[in-house]
């Protein structure tokens, strides 16, 4: 497990001074990670400029041409696609446009949820690792609980409960972010705690204390910067995990609700129409896979570049 690895080696290793140049030199060696950056950039650009690229409103039904079955993509049947590059879904909405707007939702949601998870996890992990004692004990028991229940079923139950409570039929973006963030911080907390446990015994921490720094300053200015590398790696990998997790939620109908497009809910109806409209099942999934694959490659590259001793 990565948690046990020494964290300070970025400084201890062959590079006496760990600079941005060192980082890029190491990162570039990981070719898949560089490819991941390219793919992710394409996805991000698509998400940001969705309006300009798509040209068609993702929620509008093409009433002029659609009359029942989904329209095929242009490369399948160029006379029947009526300008819908990747065809339409089963109710006649442009697939390409929905994919672009779906990227916005899926990526923003995952990044926000991970930011929240990292904030909670880092704070609690730092407190537990630095102070130890009862704080640490309680935190470890709570994380034990969270890590003993598979996150997906628990997430489904919670979204079901919150959705029913809020009287609206569906969950908003904010609620989903909140629930995923609250459920997924324990892994981060454990990681940060483990690093704090080893780092707090180091001489430089003792030195910082000896010259009269307060606890807060030691935690945030002296220890935390030295444990940023594993947190960044974990955060990157978790973005991919949350994208998948959230797409499952949408797919099962408990997450982002149509007509708002997300990669997960675009797949929700595709199973019933698998035979008639394979494209509606293939493309959203390919987008998810390409994005998560890219992020996982980047995460691996970051791990190699930031700290060769991490596993």
């Amino acid at each position: 497990m990565a948690t046990a690895a020494p964290v300070s080696s970025a400084i201890d290793s062959e590079d006496v001074v760990f600079t941005k140049v060192t980082f890029w030199r190491r990162f570039r060696r990981h070719r898949l990670a560089v490819a991941g950056i390219v793919v992710l950039l394409v996805m991000l650009l698509g998400a940001v400029f969705a309006g300009q690229i798509a040209g068609v409103n993702p929620d509008v039904i093409d009433e002029a041409h659609w009359n029942g079955p989904a329209l095929p993509p242009c490369f399948v049947n160029s006379s029947q696609c009526f300008g819908h590059v990747l065809g339409t879904d089963e109710v006649g909405r442009d697939e390409f446009s929905r994919l672009l707007y779906g990227a916005r939702i899926s990526i923003t949601l995952a990044v926000t949820a991970v930011l929240m998870e990292i904030t909670i996890g880092t704070l609690l992990g730092a407190l537990a690792g630095y102070y130890g004692g009862i704080v640490d004990y309680l935190l470890m028991r709570v994380t034990d609980v969270f890590l003993s229940i598979p996150i997906l079923p628990l997430l489904l139950v919670l979204t079901g409960i919150v959705a029913a409570k809020s009287t609206k039929a569906a969950l908003g973006f904010g609620s989903i972010v909140l629930i995923i963030g609250v459920l997924s911080w324990p892994t981060v907390a454990r990681l940060v705690r483990a690093n704090f446990l080893t780092l707090r015994e180091r001489e430089y921490v003792e030195a910082a204390r000896a010259v009269g720094n307060g606890d807060a300053r030691i935690i945030f200015r002296h220890i935390l910067p030295n444990t940023v590398a594993p947190i960044v790696v974990q955060a990157t990998l978790d973005v991919a995990n949350v994208i998948i997790l959230e797409s499952v939620l949408d797919f099962l109908g408990f997450g982002i609700q149509p007509p708002t497009p997300s990669w997960g809910n675009m797949l929700a109806n595709s199973q019933a129409n698998l035979e008639q409209a394979w494209w509606a099942a293939v493309f959203p999934g390919l987008c998810i896979l390409a994005t998560t694959l890219a992020i996982n490659f980047i995460g691996d590259g970051l791990r190699d570049a930031l700290d060769p001793n991490m596993k």
Binding site: R141, L152, A240, L274
Partner: protein, 333 residues
């Protein structure tokens, strides 16, 4: 060793109590509380609800503050659970335990077969990779592992259905491979092994994919570490055949950390089973869970989560004990 086992087992008890208490809090915060499912029934009046609430002990008796009563109710509930009474499943009209036990064999079959397939292929691929590190094969296994890590399980299921069940893959001369069943556990009324295997193929590939990637990656890194150990060099210097060195000296030691990973991956296998069963209409616990979710059958959701938590806690316990048993260097205290 015996003390270690006893102490670790005793530690699991407060953990399970804490888990069940948190789940109890969650379920009691569901809309309408524990009586939620009845609120949706148009034949049940407000008076009925109040009567049920009193009779079932949801309303605190006069003079008892609600938080105290909540704790009392929790312990009552715990008492029932310990005697095997998980309450009444409104979506199945039968006791929760019966509903779950009825579907358990199907889930265990799916998870068991997937697990064996994933572990078998994962170990083989991992060892293979470690023996020929940085070769083209190692590269393929590594990239494949990344795919496993990044693949949305439900989409893989859909694609397998599309490829092998719905259309079939054209192999030329007008032939197609495929025609596998895409839903359910059997076509025939009576049990038939070939039929059962046909139905298992696609769900098992779907479910095994994720764990397979994980196992192969960990076996590879663990095996690579072991390959550099002094005792491996000693074994080679003694003139032992490569096979013996690899399997008896290498693999045995390399498997120790893999045991932990296998136990840690159980929650993801369970979560994966929920999705896989949904996609392939597999009549197991996962499908039961989704149905209960759609009909807000809180008693069943609670029972399912409790059962899963017990499974996970015990598998972690078992992994720790195996670890201590396999690796004499682990200190018990």
């Amino acid at each position: 060793m015996f003390n270690y086992v006893v102490r670790r087992s005793l530690q699991a008890i407060p953990l399970l109590i804490l888990i069940s208490f948190i789940l109890f809090v969650i379920v009691n915060n569901a809309p309408g509380g524990p009586l939620g499912p009845y609120l949706q029934n148009p034949h049940i009046t407000q008076a009925d609800i109040e009567r049920l609430s009193r009779n079932l002990g949801v309303t605190p008796p006069p003079g008892v503050p609600p938080p105290v009563w909540f704790v009392v109710r929790y312990f009552r509930w715990l008492g029932h659970v310990l005697t095997g009474d998980f309450g009444w499943s409104t979506s199945n009209a039968e006791p929760v335990l019966d509903a779950i036990l009825q579907r358990l064999p199907a889930t265990l079959l799916l998870m068991g077969v997937s697990f064996v397939v994933a572990l078998g292929i994962g170990l083989a691929a991992g060892i293979f990779s470690a023996v020929l590190p940085y070769s083209i094969w190692d590269y393929i296994v590594t990239v494949f592992a990344f795919f496993g890590q990044s693949m949305p399980v439900f989409w893989l299921g859909l694609m397998l259905q599309l490829g092998f069940a719905v259309n079939g893959i054209p192999v030329g001369f007008g032939y197609r491979i495929g025609g596998l069943p895409s839903a359910g556990m059997s076509t025939l009324e009576t049990f038939n092994l070939g039929d059962r295997i046909d139905h298992l193929i696609l769900p098992v590939i779907t479910l095994a994919f994720l764990s397979l990637a994980l196992y192969s990656r960990f076996t590879r890194s663990s095996m690579l570490e072991v390959m550099g150990a002094d005792y491996m060099r000693t074994a080679a210097a003694k003139g032992l055949p490569f096979r013996t060195i690899l399997l008896k000296h290498g693999l045995k030691n390399a498997l120790i950390p893999v045991v932990t990973i296998v136990a840690i991956s159980l929650p993801s296998l369970i979560a994966g089973a929920v999705v896989t069963e949904y996609i392939f209409a597999w009549p197991g616990m996962g499908r039961l869970f989704i149905n209960a979710l759609q009909q807000s059958d809180m008693a069943l959701l609670m029972g399912y989560l409790c059962l899963v938590a017990v499974l996970v806690v015990f598998s972690n316990l078992l992994a720790d004990i195996c670890y201590a048993w396999l690796d004499p260097r682990v200190k018990y205290d």
